[in-house]
Symmetry: C2
């Protein structure tokens, strides 16, 4: 691992769609945001809709009739890949906080092992939204020339102090839950309250003030759903956050969340060169698509503009798209009409 | 109280500066944000610097040589006015959650009692930043013609769902601290952990991403201040938030915070008329100054623009100032050079 420590036998969960052609040159690797699994889309093996269902499939933006799609679950996650909740073969116990400090470079390198195991020498494209965009950037900088095209979505060369503050507080909310037990909670008894609070803060940063103004305004919850006490649930926006918090917890290991969230704060592409520009100059790709969203609080538009400018100076033809989507950082998951058009258009021309 | 319940004997703490003239027509009332006391500036009685020290004094924007300044601590606060931590004369115990549901209309009306007790029939001006701006708006709408001039700073006709989400989560952080004890904590044993978390989230919303980028960037804390454990304090921005959280707690009653924060969410000037415009049409003032800040996340600029337009339609001459201050919602406390010039200029012409 980049910051020290080793994993004696790590597993990376992945799923594939479409068929690798004989020249093995039609593969696209998708790296994910913090919480998604490798299940980007439904398949005969697993008909459940995936987290990017509208983007991945026959005739869709990531066209499985033309491309061989691979989506890797991040190292450190709890969705099949080795993470803090996995059993350490040396002790027989879950790693918990003995899991080595994780970086997005480790996430990228372990996903690259999947690519190599599949017999792919050079990716047709590397696609990453959010944290996955940072991991993709690390991949492209550390392994120049191994991806012909890059699609970097709502990501950045490094986190702003504002984004760090918000994620640091989310981690503190989890660690402040007595049920976290210093990371040693039984795996079937998660620190649910802390995770719910962290998820609420997360949702506040993933969406946008403009979207909520339009969707909820000052709408109230019906009287029979306000709940008891002197500070009941009053507004629909509170009910929306509660709903998302309830849905998230139980599905994600708290320590995994801490490691991955921390890795996002630590990530700084500048460490791979003499500053951001020096690092980006190492990228060898034919064409790059950088997409940002006007309402993104967490990865504001100037950060994608910085990436686009730096990559352009490095050589590739760069297309920069600033989308007016209302859903903030989460737009790539929600406004798939706009994203599909831009990503699909880019890939059709490759 | 507006939403039911009564206080048998409420006290409102206030301070004054300067001298009320013989016609009693040079008084300016300042209503405050959520946490400040009535101590806006130092005085012979209390030489400690006040929360608006740079704005209030001889020759300053709020010129105590010309005006008689009054600053009232909000009803429901814990800085001298009657609030949830005050003793209920009927039971001899603190009110705690038996304190009646508080609204900013109650805050405005109780501050008006101070004005009347001081023998002031008509205010020269009513000044309110943040929550104090909402209270001032309530005052001006409920008591038309009782203030000749209005200075409304970084406030709004009502909170956006985004601001409600952030405040609702702050309140939940306090209530989630086991030491809150359903509001029944001993007054010398506050839910300090919950208050610190809420304060951190508050600070994130009071400042701006642009300010932190400039001040902190990705600066690290020195190794000897990182603290123990696998998730130590890493970045200066985290240390800054910790510092503010440590400084705040112990100084503010948790239940007071809950009541005042909740009152901000409930506030809606539209309730005083047929919508926002109808309510603003009730204001009778000669001139109004509305100030907003470009980097304010909590009360974005369009909300002050909405106020300015609505008030202009109602009759008064309105001056609208959009300031480029970097410090977000807190700018009125920090960028007193810009604010002083605008507020001082406005008052000199009255």
């Amino acid at each position: 691992m980049r910051l020290g420590g080793t994993l004696s036998s790590a597993r990376i969960a992945y799923e594939t769609w479409g068929r690798l052609n004989d020249r093995a040159d039609n593969a696209i690797l998708i790296l994910t945001g913090l919480s998604p699994s490798a299940h980007a889309a439904s398949s005969p093996d697993d008909p459940e809709p995936g987290w990017w269902e509208d983007m991945v499939g026959p005739g869709k933006a990531l066209d499985t009739e033309r491309f061989f799609l691979v989506c890797a679950n991040s190292l450190g996650s709890c969705k099949g890949s080795t993470g803090p909740a996995s059993r350490d073969p040396e002790t027989g116990q879950p790693y918990r906080l003995d899991f080595p400090m994780l970086t997005l470079e480790d996430v990228a390198n372990s996903a690259r092992e999947v690519v190599r195991q599949l017999g792919i020498g050079k990716l047709h494209a590397l696609v990453g939204p959010s944290m996955g965009g940072m991991s993709a950037l690390a991949y492209a900088v550390m392994h120049p020339g191994e991806a012909r095209h890059l699609v970097l979505i709502s990501c950045a060369a490094h986190a702003t102090p504002f984004a760090i503050a918000l994620r640091s507080l989310q981690r503190e909310l989890i660690r402040s839950d007595p049920s976290w037990e210093g990371g040693a909670y039984p795996l079937d008894r998660e620190p649910v309250d802390g995770m719910k609070l962290a998820r609420k803060l997360g949702m506040i940063t993933y969406r946008s003030a403009a979207e909520w103004l339009e969707r909820f305004g000052r709408d109230r919850v019906p009287d029979d759903r306000r709940g008891p006490g002197p500070f009941p649930m009053e507004f629909q926006i509170e009910s929306y956050l509660q709903h998302h918090a309830d849905r998230f917890t139980g599905g994600f290991d708290a320590n995994s969340y801490l490691y991955l969230s921390h890795a996002m704060d630590l990530f700084d592409i500048a460490a791979h060169g003499d500053g951001v520009e020096g690092a980006l100059a190492r990228v060898r790709a034919e064409r790059v698509l950088v997409i940002g969203v006007e309402t993104d609080l967490l990865f504001p538009l100037w950060q994608q503009r910085e990436l686009a400018r730096g990559l352009e100076a490095a050589g590739p033809a760069v297309s920069f798209q600033a989308l007016p989507s209302l859903q903030g950082h989460d737009s790539f998951l929600v406004d798939t009409e706009r994203f599909g058009e831009v990503v699909g258009g880019f890939l059709r021309e490759t």
